[in-house]
């Protein structure tokens, strides 16, 4: 079944306009759990309460406030918050065209495919053709449902994929972390670790890995649903490695035997 478009926008590049539709390219498969009251197994509701009076405050009376570093609360009403919302627009702005991978994957949040909008097949095909020739990826910006987004736009399997990016503030970096001097590592340990890693290195084949756990959660639910009992296995914690060198030697021996 073809996916439903989640939004419509227009890519703008100088005088060129490319009307597109956004499609989610990730399929969410999580098992849906609910929070229940243990005693009667009724789903619970969220409520906001005044901690002093323990009284529930109805949602329409809930306001929002900014807490300053000095510990003051600045109350904000809905009208004020509306004034800082971005103006609604259908435009997808292209800010930069960058070499492939210039946008590090740590900025990536969630990818979307861009498909043509009604009647835009020609310009859509030309846009793909140009992106292919240019061989770069674009940094984009747009407003969707009153929120500002940044994206990376590139071709994946021949089609434009736009990935929402994190804001700079959202990525914690270790770049400025001045690490203390580490423990001394013997060159033999480094060599052995390298050899072991070499033996375990291959091409990345994503289809080799499958989520086997989800189905087993469903089995667990089925067993419990029909009144069955589930055996609990105690977790064992493995001992840590004390003698690094001999652990590496033994690992190499084991791996050579397997090869």
């Amino acid at each position: 079944m073809a996916a439903r478009a989640i939004w419509k926008g227009i890519i703008r590049l100088g005088d060129v306009k490319v009307p597109v539709k956004l499609y989610a390219s990730v399929e969410d498969r999580s098992t849906h759990f609910r929070l229940l009251h243990r005693k009667d197994r009724v789903p619970v509701r969220q409520a906001m309460i005044n901690p002093e009076t323990q009284e529930v405050v109805p949602y329409e009376k809930v306001r929002r406030a900014f807490v300053t570093a000095e510990g003051d609360l600045v109350l904000l009403n809905d009208e004020e918050l509306e004034t800082i919302e971005p103006p609604s627009s259908r435009t997808i702005h292209i800010l930069q065209l960058l070499p492939p991978r210039a946008i590090d994957h740590r900025w990536y949040v969630r990818p979307y495919f861009l498909g043509p909008d009604e009647g835009s097949d020609g310009i859509y095909a030309a846009f793909i053709g140009a992106l292919q020739k240019e061989g770069r990826e674009a940094l984009t910006r747009w407003v969707m449902r009153k929120k500002e987004y940044l994206g990376s736009l590139r071709l994946v399997a021949g089609y434009p994929m736009m990935t929402v990016l994190r804001h700079s503030h959202q990525v914690a970096s270790t770049e400025d972390l001045q690490l203390p001097e580490g423990p001394k590592l013997a060159s033999k340990e480094i060599d052995m670790a390298r050899s072991l890693m070499d033996m375990l290195t291959a091409d990345f084949k994503p289809s080799d890995y499958r989520d086997e756990y989800r189905a087993r959660v469903q089995e667990l639910i089925a067993v419990k649903s029909s009144g069955g009992k589930v055996k609990k296995i105690p977790l064992r914690k493995k001992p840590k490695t004390d003698d690094l060198q001999s652990a590496l030697e033994a690992s190499l021996r084991q791996e050579r035997k397997r090869a």
Binding site: H32, Q46, E52
Partner: protein, 69 residues
């Protein structure tokens, strides 16, 4: 903000506030316990998510009422 005398509560992992924001109830949550609407792909917290049994999928309240743009 808790009144004095309130016992320290250990929050269960599925109930911790996190970096994600639910547009529907305005609470923060951890994306690890959140969902994405199958129709509009917006993040939804575990309280606001709705299950569509026939489609074996989850959606947000806007999409189920058909009011989503």
């Amino acid at each position: 903000m808790s009144p004095s005398g309130t016992k320290a509560v250990v929050i269960a992992w599925w109930d911790e506030p996190g970096p994600d924001y639910c547009e529907y109830c305005r609470h923060t949550f951890c994306v690890e316990v959140g969902y994405f609407c199958a129709d509009c792909d917006q993040p939804i917290c575990q309280h606001c998510v709705l299950c569509v049994r026939e489609r074996d999928t989850v959606v947000c309240s806007h999409c189920i009422s058909g009011s989503q743009d």
